[in-house]
Structure formats: structure tokens, C-alpha cells
Amino acid sequence: MTAIVKQALLTFLLLMLSSLAVFAAIRLSGGDVTAARLPASATAEDRELFREQIGLNKPILVQYVNYLGKVVRGDLGNSLTNNAKISSLATEKIKNSLILGGAAIVMVFGVGIPLGMLAASRRNTWLDASISSVSVAGMAVPNFWLALLVVWLFSSTLGWFPSAGQGGFKYLVLPSLVLAAEGIALTVRMTRSAMLENLSQDFVRTLRASGLSESRIYFKHVLRNSLLPIISLAGLRVGQIVGYALVVETIFGWPGVGQILVNGVLRRDYPIVQFFSLVLVVVVILGNLAASAGYVLANPRLRK
């Protein structure tokens, strides 16, 4: 119980600190907040008046406290660009990003673990070598470049999948693949090495001596042992996907949190940036909490 309270307090503190950091960073990073909203013909006075209206002339800490006060009362503010209420934008954007990110997470583990197991079971064959080299490439290639590559190949050349936008399963394939690529590669390599390491453990010899079949030993015992390190690093995979979502959503025109956040930063749309970057922080925190919980559940030493 105390552990849960402690975790909750920590999470709260983390949220406050990161919101303050984002709040200050966007204001200190320069750029003109009025450029997006006011016409180019607006005078210096007009611009000054606009800044005063949205409270930008006050010290940052005062602005932050005012902002928090509004948030507590349920007012997330409006976009500076088009005056849309953020609370009404949020659901749609978050839902879209969860679909994309969820698909990516499923691919990271659903593709990575079986491929890693396959490579381990065919150790030192051409199949293992190919899986391993593709996964090295997967880690080395930056995802914006990979995005261009798959769009060129599967969209422009082969015409199998649409290159951008949203709607239906077809639209999900390319962006989630690019988003998951590095995670898949890391999971393949981790699974392979964990499987091989556990295969050489003493307990495997005991299982063989008991007459268990090789497939039972491999798929039940060795796999269960190998999942522990993978689960323990699942939080990192979530963090990676959240980070890459900014790039991938922008490239593929996926109307999610990442896209609106990138546009918000470019236009110095402070309320948008403030809210949606916190959404990402929350997702990362929740992802890590889920990974820790999963690790405890999967590990009998901690569960007992």
C-alpha cells in the first residue's frame, strides 16, 4: 500500500515538474507567438495587445500558476491558432495516437519475440544471420529515412498501401511499421540472446533428463525465463514509440498527438504544446508503470 502511495506521489511530482519544464521551455525558446494568429499587416501595438490579452507580459511563474488554476477548474485553454477548445480536440487526437502506438507496441512484441525465437532456434544458420543483420539495420536506420523508403517502395512503386492519412487498416500498416521498426529490432536481438543464454542453463539439462520434449522445453520453460528481461525493458519501448510518434505522425499525416504537437511547436501555440506534451508524459509514465507491474507479475521471486 505504501508503495502505491509513494508511486502516486512520485508520478504527481513528475507531472508537475515536466509541465513546468514544458511551460518554460516553449516560452524561452523564442519565436513570435502572434505570427500564427494575427495577420502579417498587424502593427506592433496590435501584437503587444494580443500578448497582454493572453497574459504573456507577466513573469513565467505567475503565468504558470494561473495556468494551473485554470487546469484545476477543468479549463485546458484554447488553441492560439484557431481558438478551438483543447478539451474538444483532445479525445480525437489521443484516440488516433493510441491506435497507432498500440499497433506499434503489438508489432514490437508480436513480431520481435517470434523472430528472436526463430533466430535462436536456428542459431548460426543463414536464417539466423539474415534475421540478425536485418535487425541490426533496423536499429541503425533513422526512422524518418525508413519512412521515406517504405513510402517509396510500398506506396509509390507497388501501390499496396496509402502513403498518408487515416481511415481503415490499410492506412495503419506503414506508419505503425515505421514506428515499431527499432523496437522490433531491439526485441529480436534481446529475445535471441536471452533464449540462447537460458538454453545453456543447468535447468534445461534437468528438463531434458526428465524426458520433456525439446519443443516443450523451448516454448514453455526457456521462453518463460527469457520474457523477464524483455518485460523489464518494455517501458523503454513505450518511451521510444512515444518519442518517434512525433516524426512518424508528421510524415504520414496521421492526425494524432504527435502531429498536433509538432505543429503547435512550429506555430508557438503555447496551450496546445502544454497540454499535448503532458499527454505524452502521462503515456510514458503509464507505460513504465505497466512494465514494472508486468515484471513483478511475471517474476515469482517478486510476486511471492
Binding site: D202, F203, A209, S210, G211, P300, R301
Partner: protein, 324 residues
């Protein structure tokens, strides 16, 4: 009794190490028999090939790099070296079971004792959950575990070394094998626990008519538990016979050396005579007798002609110039 075929008959067994640039035998022309209802001790220094010999009976040796290069292992009329993988699997655990030196690392840490035991039962018998659990609890009790129901639900990390080894024994007993190979089962345990485990093994052998092949480097264990013993040196059996005969009248100079290196209660420190020199590496063995460089009784032919294992008195010995 004498005419009955042995339970396990190993003939001329050689196990070779075969890697990229090297190939040599680390177990050479080993012949062993284990009779029904008998405890055979396989004795020797570490690295003499006794574990590899034992592992290769169930083909559990690390392969590659280890391969059986010649010989036969006949169990109950069948040559185990000729079995297919699935036939071998059905022998493991049900006919011949094996327990290992380090019980703490030899149990899968992710499963309960009960889950490990029942899956060993399912591996050989198509029984329901109730029956499998009953078999598991029985095996735990047979292995000398005091509170089987409690241990059934525990994980290996919750067990002490002694209890872990008993769980290993239970795992070996589940399918009621006729032969148990115990590879240094007590080496990693406290002395008091060692005695309990050995007593339990001896009892099991007597009550169930189960034969045991006990691998050890501890001559005290041999004297207290085994019926017959085989002494191994540098991959060969150098002497084999009833424990009392070998202890009373050791014939191979290596065996006498081994017995001379055991401290006795009340004996002076000067009574201890270590064997000088070291065991030759398997890739630098002499042409003749493997023990020739350390032997005080070596003759001329010892460095040129490899002696064979032959009956002498009541035992078998591989020596040109045996003691006594």
C-alpha cells in the same frame, strides 16, 4: 544371479571432443556394467571423464562439441547409442533418470515444484491432473521431503540446497525409473545434509530395486554407499571391482595413490601421500599408460603399450605392473 544380464552394459565407449581445429577423445574405451539392484560408484578426479560418461548414457552431453565416437550402451537389451531422438526422450526420466551436482541452478526458477514434477509425469504418462499431482506428492514424500503439500506450491528460490536436491530426486523418481544416475549429488551440500541424502538414495535403491550409478570424487561416500566401484583416470576406467575388494587390495598404482591421499582419523599428517604430478590433458596423452608419468612402478612397456582392462584376482585392472 551371476548369469543375469546386467541392467546397463557399457562397452568400449569413447566420447570425443570435435571442434574446429581439435578432435580427441576425452572418454576412452570405457567398459562398465551396472547390475539390477546395485549401486555402482564412479570415482575419479575432476576432469577424468566421469560426468561425460554419465551424461552420454542419456545423450545429455553438450553436443556439439561432444560426440560418442565408438562403443555401445546397452540398456535392457537396447543399444541407447542407436536410438532416435524421440526414442531417447522416452527413455529419459522413465527408464533412466539423472540428478545433478548443483540443485539450486538445476531447477527452472519460473515454475513451482509441483508444476515441474507434474510436467515430468505428463512427459511419459497420459494421466489426468489429479493423478499427476498424486504422483508428484508421492515422489516428494519418497525423496524424504517432510511437508510435500507445502513444497508442492513453492518455487525453487524458496528452497534450501538440501531440499532442492530432494526435489531433484523427486523429479527423478516421478516416473519410477530402474536406474538413477547421480552426478555428484551431494558435493554442493552441507555435510549433515549430504549424509541424509546418501542414506535416502541407499534406501530407495533397496526398497525399489532401483540401481544407482553414483558419480563422486569422495572415497568416503563410496565406502559408505556403493556395492561396486570403478576408478577413472584420464578418460579410462583403470580399476573396477567390489568396493570391499578395491579398498582392501587396491591393484592399480593410481587407486593406491587415491586411497593414500585420504586422511584417516588418528593418522599423522606424514601418512598422507599425495600423488605427484598432474593429470595429462586429453590432447597430450602418452602413447602407453595414461598414468605412466606419475607412476612409481612404471616399467619400460608402460610408456609404449597401452594396458587393457583385465580381470586380476577379484577385480579388473588396467595395468602392466599392478600392486600385490
Amino acid at each position: 544371479m551371476i548369469t543375469e544380464a546386467p541392467l546397463l552394459d557399457i562397452k568400449d565407449l569413447s566420447v570425443g571432443l570435435c571442434a574446429k581445429n581439435v578432435a580427441y577423445d576425452i572418454v576412452r574405451n570405457v567398459g562398465l556394467t551396472i547390475n539390477h539392484n546395485e549401486i555402482l560408484a564412479l570415482v575419479g578426479e575432476s576432469g577424468c571423464g566421469k560426468s561425460v560418461t554419465a551424461l552420454s548414457i542419456l545423450q545429455l552431453q553438450m553436443s556439439p562439441p561432444l560426440f560418442i565416437t565408438s562403443g555401445s550402451i546397452v540398456y535392457d537389451g537396447r543399444d541407447l547409442t542407436k536410438l532416435s531422438k524421440s526414442e531417447m526422450r522416452s527413455v529419459r526420466g522413465s527408464e533412466i533418470a539423472m540428478i545433478f551436482q548443483d540443485p539450486m541452478s538445476s531447477l527452472d526458477p519460473m515454475f513451482t515444484v509441483g508444476a515441474l514434477l507434474t510436467s515430468a509425469a505428463y512427459a511419459h504418462q497420459s494421466v489426468g491432473k489429479d493423478v499427476a499431482e498424486k504422483m508428484a506428492l508421492e515422489a516428494l514424500a519418497d525423496a524424504g521431503i517432510e511437508d510435500p503439500e507445502r513444497r508442492f506450491n513453492e518455487y525453487p528460490f524458496q528452497l534450501s540446497g538440501g531440499v532442492s536436491q530432494r526435489v531433484m530426486i523427486a523429479l527423478a523418481l516421478v516416473n519410477k525409473p530402474k536406474l538413477l544416475i547421480a552426478d555428484e549429488p551431494t558435493t554442493a551440500l552441507d555435510v549433515t545434509v549430504q549424509a541424509q541424502i546418501l542414506d535416502r538414495l541407499k534406501e530407495l535403491s533397496k526398497n525399489r530395486g532401483m540401481s544407482i550409478m553414483l558419480i563422486t570424487h569422495n572415497l568416503g561416500v563410496v565406502a559408505s554407499v556403493a556395492d561396486r566401484m570403478a576408478v577413472m583416470y584420464a578418460g579410462e576406467v583403470v580399476e573396477m571391482g567390489a568396493v570391499s575388494d578395491v579398498f582392501d587390495k587396491p591393484q592399480h598404482p593410481y587407486t593406491t595413490g587415491l586411497l593414500g591421499a585420504v586422511p584417516r582419523l588418528g593418522g599423522a599428517a606424514s601418512d598422507l601421500t599425495p600423488i605427484s604430478g598432474r593429470v595429462p590433458q586429453p590432447d597430450e596423452l602418452p602413447i602407453g599408460c595414461a598414468f605412466v608419468d606419475r607412476c612409481s612402478r612404471a616399467l619400460v612397456q608402460c610408456s609404449t603399450i597401452r594396458p587393457i582392462l583385465q580381470v586380476r584376482g577379484r577385480a579388473e585392472v588396467r595395468c602392466h605392473n599392478p600392486v600385490g
